[in-house]
């Protein structure tokens, strides 16, 4: 995060905000994609998040916490997207009908243990988690971040990261067991 860009954008500099968007958009998109599970929703949530950030950037009290602030907006935009979708689209429990991206097999993963849980089962369990838990798991594991990094990114102590991560993984395991 470039603090000068954030400061300039906060003063209303659209070019600076555009530069911030280019810097962050891939990461935000990947996060929303992991949270929501399909590209269309992820694109929508990503756009909403940045527009919301632009609208409210003046309310950011501490520009050094931009990443955590943006993270909260991403969580909210994901939640909003999910709520809008919930009324019009049912997630199929049939593996054949799952979005192709979400149905990709995991056997090609670098980690062979990943095959211990099937992709479809994992996705169904993951999508039963609260958005906040999905967000935490995503920022932690998608980029192989250390817990220190996650804490800095979310603006919370490492102890809180550990406890929340532990709860999220336990909830995920319970959701998987519920399918077994």
């Amino acid at each position: 995060m470039n603090r000068e860009l954030v400061e300039a954008a906060r003063r209303g500099d659209r070019d600076a905000f555009d530069a911030l968007v280019r810097q962050e958009v891939a990461g935000v998109y990947r996060t929303t994609l992991a949270i929501l599970g399909n590209a269309a929703d992820a694109e929508e949530a990503t756009q909403d998040a940045f527009v919301s950030a632009w609208r409210n950037l003046r309310s950011l009290r501490d520009t050094s916490r931009f990443d955590a602030w943006l993270g909260r907006i991403v969580v909210n935009s994901s939640r909003m997207t999910l709520r809008r979708r919930r009324g019009v689209r049912e997630i199929s429990m049939n593996a054949d009908q799952l979005p192709s991206q979400a149905s990709r097999p995991v056997g090609t993963s670098d980690d062979p243990e990943a095959t211990a849980v099937g992709a479809d089962a994992f996705d169904r369990a993951f999508e039963r988690l609260p958005i906040e838990d999905r967000h935490l798991l995503t920022v932690t594991y998608a980029e192989d971040r250390s817990l220190d990094d996650v804490g800095r990114l979310l603006g919370i102590p490492i102890g809180t990261v550990k406890s929340r991560l532990s709860r999220a993984r336990a909830a995920l395991a319970r959701a998987l067991e519920g399918q077994a």
Binding site: R22, I73, N76, A119, L136, T138, Y141, G155, L172
Partner: protein, 364 residues
């Protein structure tokens, strides 16, 4: 038992996150955001003074019309918010200054003096908490059909002071005076000289009319436990005065405005959230900025309330905002039942309509 070790979770998350998204698609996303931001900026420049969250602005309209710039007439008491009966109270006017950090309850004498000049600034439309008793009745006048009709009188003295029904707000519980009258303390709004509006009785906690936020949250939960509400009802509880820190929360994105019924509930939808935090929390902004959940003793209030009651006068357009939490005494009406699907970020201990910030005014 399902095996779920860390590498398994990592592998699946990375699969879902698509570690190598199409650069063209990412570029398209950035361009789409740029276009929306450009459009947003143009719209703002065409409508001077429009707030950042336009869809929410309409929802503020009702609140803006209702939540008049009222504040509580408070007189400092050395003993803080501890309520005493009139006979043992010292005249507040003897205090050297008006300390906004000290809760104040007017005595009968003070109320009479304040209401006597109730048609002048700074008293008109101010809200006071007074430790007085109200009785039913009052002289009905020929003008009663077209003006506010009296519903009661002060029990002791001040026969000329009329107590009238609250101003019209269908979502707020109206103050009532039954056959047995109402015991103080009561929350009143000064309408004009010698006329006050009964907003309601002021509930007390441990003898204090200004509730610590955790006690207020517990009281709201007790409503839920002891009363049988229809699940779809929108119900507002009686007025409370709470001592808390008001702070601005995170924005909930509002790309499409969802209609809420009643309109009041729309103020808790997407938009710029606002919260009341307990006074013991040193810096609630660190929690609001980073934590996903809200502490169980926080209270969600309508969007934009920080701008209304917390923004310093110096923070006009173009000025550098100061987002410090604002400690004070706030008049709130708890929502004891609402549609959680429309109430966003309502994972706090309670949800309430913030009605007024209560500040002291001098006793004439």
């Amino acid at each position: 038992m399902v095996e779920l070790d860390e590498p398994t979770v990592r592998a699946h998350i990375r699969r879902r996150a698509d570690t190598a998204p199409d650069p063209v698609a990412i570029g398209g996303l950035a361009a789409a955001v740029r276009e929306k931001v450009r459009h947003e900026s143009q719209r703002r420049s065409l409508v001077p003074g429009v707030v950042a969250l336009a869809p929410v602005r309409a929802r503020f309209a009702l609140a803006a019309a209702i939540v008049v710039a009222v504040s509580l007439v408070l007189v400092p008491l050395a003993g803080g918010p501890l309520l005493q009966r009139r006979s043992s109270m010292q005249p507040s006017s003897s205090m050297p200054s008006l300390d906004p950090t000290v809760f104040q309850v007017l005595t009968l004498d003070e109320l009479q003096r304040v209401v006597a000049v109730g048609d002048t600034e700074p008293y008109v439309d101010r809200i006071v908490v007074a430790d007085v008793d109200l009785g039913p009745g009052g002289p009905r006048q020929l003008t009663c059909l077209i003006e506010d009709c009296p519903i009661g009188l002060l029990v002791e003295g001040a026969p000329g002071i009329r107590v009238i029904e609250p101003f019209e707000d269908p979502d707020i519980l109206p103050g009532r005076i039954g056959e047995n009258g109402v015991s103080g303390p009561v929350i009143l709004r000064i309408r004009r000289a010698n006329t006050v509006e009964l907003i309601g009785e002021a509930p007390t906690a441990a003898g204090r009319a200004a509730w610590p936020l955790p006690s207020f949250v517990q009281a709201v939960r007790d409503y839920l436990r002891t009363m049988d509400f229809a699940p779809t009802s929108f119900l507002v509880g009686p007025p409370y005065v709470v001592e808390a820190k008001l702070l601005q929360g995170q924005p909930v994105p509002c790309p499409t405005a969802a209609a809420a019924s009643p309109a009041r509930l729309g103020e808790f939808g997407c938009g710029l959230t606002a919260w009341l935090a307990p006074t013991v929390v040193a810096d609630p902004t660190t929690i609001i900025d980073t934590s996903d959940g809200r502490p169980p003793d926080w209270v969600r209030v309508q969007n934009g309330m920080y701008r209304r009651f917390g923004m310093e006068p110096a923070n006009g357009p173009g000025a550098t905002p100061n987002w410090d939490p604002r400690r004070g005494f706030y008049l709130v009406f708890p929502l004891v039942r609402y549609d959680a699907r429309i109430c966003f970020d309502c994972d706090a201990g309670a949800v309430a309509i913030l009605y007024a910030k209560l500040e002291p005014v001098p006793i004439p």
